[in-house]
Amino acid sequence: MILNSSLNSIAYSSTLPPDWPGGFWWHWLLFTVIIIVFALTLVMGFIWIERRGMGRMQARLGPNQAGPFGLLQPVADALKILLKEDIIPAKADRIVHWLAPVVAFAPALMIFAVVPFGDGAMLADLDIGILYVVAIASISAIGIFMAGWGSSNKYSMLGAMRGIASVVSYEIPVVLAIAGVVLVAGSMSLNQIVLAQDIPFILLQPLGFLLFFIGGCAEINRSPFDLMEADSELTAGFHTEYSGMKFAMFYLMEYAEAVAISAIIATLFLGGWRGPLLPPWLWFVLKVIFVFFIMVWTRTTLPRVRIDQLMALAWKFLFPLALINLIVTAIQILVWPDALPWILVPINLAIMALLILLWSKLFKLGWGRVEV
C-alpha cells in the first residue's frame, strides 16, 4: 500500500515542492508514513468515537473496560481479528476472494495523498486533486463487488450489487456538488481550495454541502444508506463470508473511507486546516472528527432507506438539485465576480431552502409493490 500510494504520487505530481529539505524522496517517504499513521490512528479513533458516542446516545456507556475509557478497544479488536482463523469458503473464487479486500482497502488510504494537513503539507499537491479523489474513491466499489462475487454467497452478491448501484448513481451528484466548489475556488487543487476559503464554503455553497454530505454518506455506505451490509436484511452483506485478516481490512476500510470522506468534506466545505489560534493540523483533525460525529449521529437516529428509494433519491432529488446548484453558482460567478461573499451567503441559503421546499413537494421517490 505504501508503495502504491507513493508510486501514484510520483506518477501524478507534476511539480516538486521546492522548500522541503532533502528533496522529493524524503518528502514522499515522510508523508506516506504520516498518512498511514494518521489514517490508521484516526480510524481507530473513529471506531472508538462511534462506539462510545453511539453508546451514550443510546443511554448506555459503550466500551470502557479495555484501557482507560476503553481507548484501547479498537486495538484489541484489531489484534484479535488479525489473528483469527482465515476461512475461504469451499465454493468461493479463491483469487477474487483473496484480492477483494486489498482492492477495497488501498484506495481509502490513497485518497489522503492529496488532502492538505496544513498549508502545503500534503503528499502531492496535484492540480487536479479533487478529480483524483473522485476517481480513486470509486475504485473500492470494485473491491466490494469482487468480494460479493468471490464469496459465492447470495447475501454477499445482493449486497455487492446494491453497493455498485449506489456508487454509480451517487458519483454524479457528488461530482456536480464538487464542481460548484471548484467554480467558486477557481482551482482543483485541494490546497488552493482551502486557501480560497476566506469564509468556509459551507456558507457559500450550503446546497452543495448538503448534497455532498448525503452523496458521500451513500457512497461510503454510512447509515441511512448502509444498504450493502444491511444488518437486518443481508446478515453482513458483502463481507458475510470473510473472516480474520480479510474481514479486518473490510472493517478498517469502512472507517478509513469515513475518515476520507470526512477529510474531504472538511477540506472542501469547512475550511480545511484554516482556523485561528490552534495549529493547522489540529484544526483539520477537529473538523474531520466533527464531520464524522454528524455521521455517527445520523447513523444512530435514522432508519435505512430501501434500494429503489436510494436510487430515486440520487436521480430525482440530488441530481437535479446539484445541476441547479452548479448553474446558479456559475451565474453568480459570471455575473457578480467581485460581489462580496457575505452578500451571497443569505442568497444561497434562500435558494437552498426554496429548492428543497420545491423538490420536497413535487417528487415522489421510489415505487411500491410490483405485480408478480
Binding site: R299, P303, R306, V372
Partner: protein, 376 residues
C-alpha cells in the same frame, strides 16, 4: 396494475433464485426461516418454514399437573409470560368453576396490561430495528421495558418467565413497595412514550419505508384469522377485552385503536396507541384496587370435572386461547393453544409478495412474531 418499469426488466428474462432467510438471521426474531424466491430484489414467493423451536408443549402439558403447566405457558410467548399465565388460569378456572377474589382480578388486569406495554415496546423496537434504525429505538424501548420488568421481578422474583399467576389467583400478594413503584411508573411512562414517538414517528425515511407497505385488507385479515394489532390495524374494531370481556375488563373505560389501511405503519401506530390505552386501564385499576385475599381456596392438586373449555384473552400479539379437555384427573387430557402469532403469520405471504427483500423484513417485523408461540 402492472408497473411499466418492472415490465421492462422482465423482458430481460431474469431468473428467480431462492434465498433462505433464516433460520438464524438477525431479523427473524428467533429461529424462523423464510424460503424466499427472489427476482433480483423483488420477492416473488415466500414460504414460511418453522418448527425450529417446536418443543412439544402441548404434549408435555398432558404429563404435568394443572399447576405444573403454568411454567410451560410462560415459555410460549416468552415476551408476554403474564398474559399466557392469565389465559391458562382463566381456562382452568372456567373448566373447574373456580372463582377469583376481587383483588386478584384487579392485580391480574394491572399485570396483564403492564405486560402488554412491555411486549409492545419490544414489538415496536424490533420493528424499528428491522427498518434499519441502528438499535437506538430498540435500546430505548428496552430501557422502558426494563422498568416494567423491575416491577414484575419485584412481585414474582424472575425477570422474564414469571410463573406468578395461579389457578384461583396468585401464589402470594404483591409486596408493599409494588404500588408506590407502580404509581411512579404510571407518572413517567406517558412522557417517555411521547419521547420515543418523537424519535421516529414523523421520520420521513420511516414513513417512506412503512407507509403503504405490506397492506393487509380488512377482508383478508378476517379470512386468515388474524387477531390483535394486526387485525385492528386493518380497520376491524375487534378486541376481546371489549367484545367478550374476560376477567373484569368490562369495568374499565378504554378505546380500541384501529388503523386505516392496514400497512406496516398502521400496525406500528396501533401498538403505540395501545400502550397509551393500557396505561389508562392500569390507572383505573390502580384507583379501584381493593384490599383482601389474592387466592381463593383451591386444592393443591386441581382436579376439574370431565369436560372441555375454551378461554381466550386479548394477549399482546392477539387472541390467545387455551382449549383444555379434562378427564377428571390431575393433568389435562388435552391442552391446545391457539397461538396468535401462528395465525397472524398466515398473512405474511399475502403482504410480502411483490415487495423488496427489505420490505419483506419489515413486514415480517410488523406482524410481531414470537417463535415460542408459533412452534410451541
Amino acid at each position: 396494475m402492472r408497473d411499466t418499469r418492472y415490465a421492462r426488466i422482465m423482458v430481460l428474462k431474469t431468473e428467480p433464485f431462492i434465498l433462505n432467510i433464516g433460520p438464524v438471521h438477525p431479523s427473524t426474531h428467533g429461529v424462523f426461516r423464510m424460503r424466499t424466491t427472489l427476482d433480483g430484489e423483488v420477492v416473488v414467493d415466500v414460504e414460511p418454514v418453522f418448527g425450529y423451536l417446536h418443543r412439544g408443549i402441548e404434549k408435555l402439558a398432558e404429563e404435568r399437573t394443572y399447576t405444573g403447566v403454568i411454567p410451560l405457558t410462560d415459555r410460549l410467548d416468552y415476551v408476554a409470560s403474564m398474559s399466557n399465565n392469565l389465559a391458562y388460569c382463566l381456562a382452568v378456572e372456567k373448566l373447574a368453576g373456580i372463582s377469583v377474589p376481587e383483588r386478584a382480578e384487579y392485580l391480574r388486569v394491572i399485570l396483564a396490561e403492564l405486560q402488554r406495554i412491555a411486549s409492545h415496546l419490544i414489538a415496536v423496537g424490533a420493528f424499528l430495528n428491522d427498518c434499519g434504525a441502528f438499535f437506538t429505538p430498540f435500546l430505548y424501548m428496552f430501557r422502558e421495558r426494563e422498568k416494567i420488568v423491575d416491577l414484575f421481578e419485584m412481585v414474582s422474583g424472575q425477570r422474564l418467565l414469571y410463573n406468578y399467576m395461579r389457578i384461583g389467583g396468585f401464589n402470594q400478594d404483591v409486596p408493599d413497595e409494588f404500588l408506590p413503584a407502580l404509581d411512579k411508573l404510571l407518572a413517567q411512562m406517558p412522557r417517555f412514550i411521547e419521547e420515543y414517538e418523537r424519535l421516529l414517528k414523523e421520520n420521513e425515511i420511516l414513513l417512506a419505508r412503512a407507509k403503504g407497505v405490506g397492506i393487509l385488507p380488512k377482508e383478508v385479515a378476517i379470512n386468515i384469522s388474524a387477531s390483535g394489532p394486526v387485525l385492528r390495524a386493518s380497520g376491524v374494531k375487534w378486541d376481546i377485552r371489549k367484545k367478550d370481556p374476560y376477567s373484569i375488563y368490562d369495568r374499565f373505560d378504554f378505546d380500541i385503536p384501529t388503523g386505516e389501511v392496514g400497512d406496516c405503519y398502521d400496525r406500528y401506530r396501533v401498538r403505540v396507541e395501545e400502550m397509551r390505552q393500557s396505561l389508562r386501564i392500569i390507572n383505573q385499576a390502580r384507583r379501584q384496587l381493593p384490599a383482601g385475599e389474592v387466592k381463593s381456596e383451591v386444592p393443591h392438586l386441581v382436579r376439574p370435572p370431565a369436560g372441555e373449555a375454551y378461554a381466550h384473552i386479548e394477549a399482546p400479539k392477539g387472541e390467545l386461547g387455551f382449549h383444555l379437555v379434562s378427564d377428571n384427573s390431575i393433568a389435562p387430557y388435552r391442552c391446545h393453544i391457539r397461538a396468535p402469532s401462528l395465525l397472524n403469520l398466515t398473512a405474511l405471504r399475502d403482504m410480502a409478495i411483490g415487495w423488496k427483500v427489505a420490505d419483506l423484513i419489515i413486514i415480517f417485523g410488523s406482524i410481531d412474531i414470537v417463535m415460542g408461540e408459533i412452534d410451541r
